[in-house]
Amino acid sequence: MKGHTNNPSVSRSEWTLTEEAFAKFLACLDPDKERAGETYEMLRLKLVKFFDWRGAHFPEECVDETFNRVARKLESGESIRDIATYSHGVARMVLLETLRNPENKSLSLDDLSETGATSPALEETDVRRDCFERCLSDLPADSRLLILDYYKDERKSKIDNRQSLARRLGIPIDALRSRAQRVRNRLEKCISECTQQGL
């Protein structure tokens, strides 16, 4: 959670998150600090994906703004019974504000073509290809093997393949899916940062 955002598409509040307010926020999630931390991480991931799926260009910053607003409410003495549901309501407001912002205007591939872009938006670049290979090789070996196995395109035998993989790793199929998605998410973030930095 950040005190403010850098993204101009997100309406920034003037309020700055304090350590005390963040502790209060966590305490609302769970009285146990360790469990509160886990709940926070899960809620954050869900809201990031919420903003992502709804087309926000900077989902992470949208989530920061959402949590800031919730924490501010708590610090003002407001009592929140279900903080997850409350956060969802706040997130919807932040999303609406974000989508109204011209900086968040989405462009389809057709739009991109109409802008006169010289290359299709999904055209692979050398930078992106190198970033992919570097980020994939930077993954721990077991994570790398996991996503290469998990996303095998074996059509009908895909379920069998994943069940077999789960048995080999000694984890339930749901845990395997969760692990594979997080590795994939990590790879995606790495590539995004890599391409922004131009390697």
Partner: protein
């Protein structure tokens, strides 16, 4: 329930094709249910991978590109998916690691990861091998112990046989010793009886003046005259002889009593006898001093094979002095 979430619903959500109410309902579900959230995320990845593999229908593809790919975040995701499925499919087709990143999989870390992945299999193999080895050792040890037990049993049986043989030998020797002792005692007694009570005053031995009588059985005082045995004074011993029928190996016993029943002389285990044409001749050397003048009854008994002696005959005689 996450399994109730239909991929079509999620697909429409991701391409902004759901009414607001259904959108909100789905969002509330995955925000409150972790499994529902994972399921929506999975469907998204599957949809992006289908696009990357060119497996969306024309309509799906048109909608996907117009709505989903309007987000720069999603475009990056689709590009990454294209690289990822390319790498995965290439490996599946060639069976080889296709890129620099995947070459490192075959390095030591890849080997370790592979071993870790197959750890359960190695653990099973190790356990089976260990079990086989332990079973083999136990079987070998059992066979060895069985052999030792059999050997000890044979040795014990052999020792028992040897002990039995020795006991039989000892028993046999003891029987022989007993018989010899009896014969020796008999000879000693005969010798004592035969010794002249009166040696010459000069200490010289004189010939032993024995008298011998062949007794006739079943002579009683009431039936006929008693057989008279005249014994001269100075006679040291009287040899009383009886003829009996032969009945195998027999041991004889002689007992002399007065007619009143008082015991006079007794001798058991008489084996010295000789064969005659009328049967066996049994002899008993009775000290003459034991037979003062008077009437006597001699009872002759015989024993077969160690059994109790049975009476054969009685002899009635009268001793007279000359």
């Amino acid at each position: 329930m996450a399994t109730d979430i239909h991929p079509e619903l999620v697909y429409r959500y991701l391409v902004s094709d759901l009414p607001e109410a259904e959108q909100t309902a789905l969002e509330q579900e995955f925000l409150s249910d972790d499994e529902a959230f994972e399921r929506v995320w999975e469907i998204e990845n599957e949809m992006v991978d289908r696009y990357a593999r060119g497996r969306l229908t024309a309509h799906e593809r048109e909608l996907f590109e117009r709505t989903y790919l309007a987000s720069p975040v999603h475009r990056e995701r689709a590009l990454m998916a294209r690289r990822l499925v390319g790498a995965v499919d290439s490996e599946a087709e060639t069976g080889r690691v296709p890129s620099r990143a995947r070459d490192s999989v075959s390095s030591w870390s890849g080997l370790v990861a592979s071993l870790r992945r197959d750890a359960w299999r190695w653990a099973m193999i190790t356990a089976i091998l260990a079990l086989t080895i332990v079973s083999g050792v136990l079987l070998s040890e059992t066979v060895r112990l069985h052999k030792q037990i059999n050997q000890l049993d044979n040795e014990r049986a052999s020792q028992l046989r040897r002990t039995e043989e020795l006991e039989n030998e000892v028993g046999s020797e003891r029987d022989k010793a007993d018989k010899l002792e009896a014969e020796l005692e008999s000879l000693r007694e005969d010798s004592r009886n035969a010794e002249p009570s009166s040696q010459s005053s000069q200490g010289q031995k004189e010939p032993r003046p024995l008298v011998s009588f062949l007794l006739t059985p079943m002579l009683t005082r009431g039936g006929s005259e008693a057989q008279q045995l005249p014994i001269a004074n100075g006679t040291p011993a009287v040899v009383l002889q009886m003829t009996v029928q032969e009945h195998g190996d027999q041991t004889f016993q002689v007992e002399v009593r007065t007619v009143e029943g008082a015991p006079v002389w007794r001798k058991g285990s008489i084996k010295r006898h000789q064969e005659t044409k009328n049967g066996l001749l049994v002899s008993a050397n009775v000290p003459a001093a034991k037979l003062p003048p008077g009437d006597y009854i001699l009872t002759l008994s015989a024993a077969h094979g160690g059994k109790e002696p049975e009476e054969i005959n009685r002899y009635f005689f009268r001793v007279v002095r000359q």
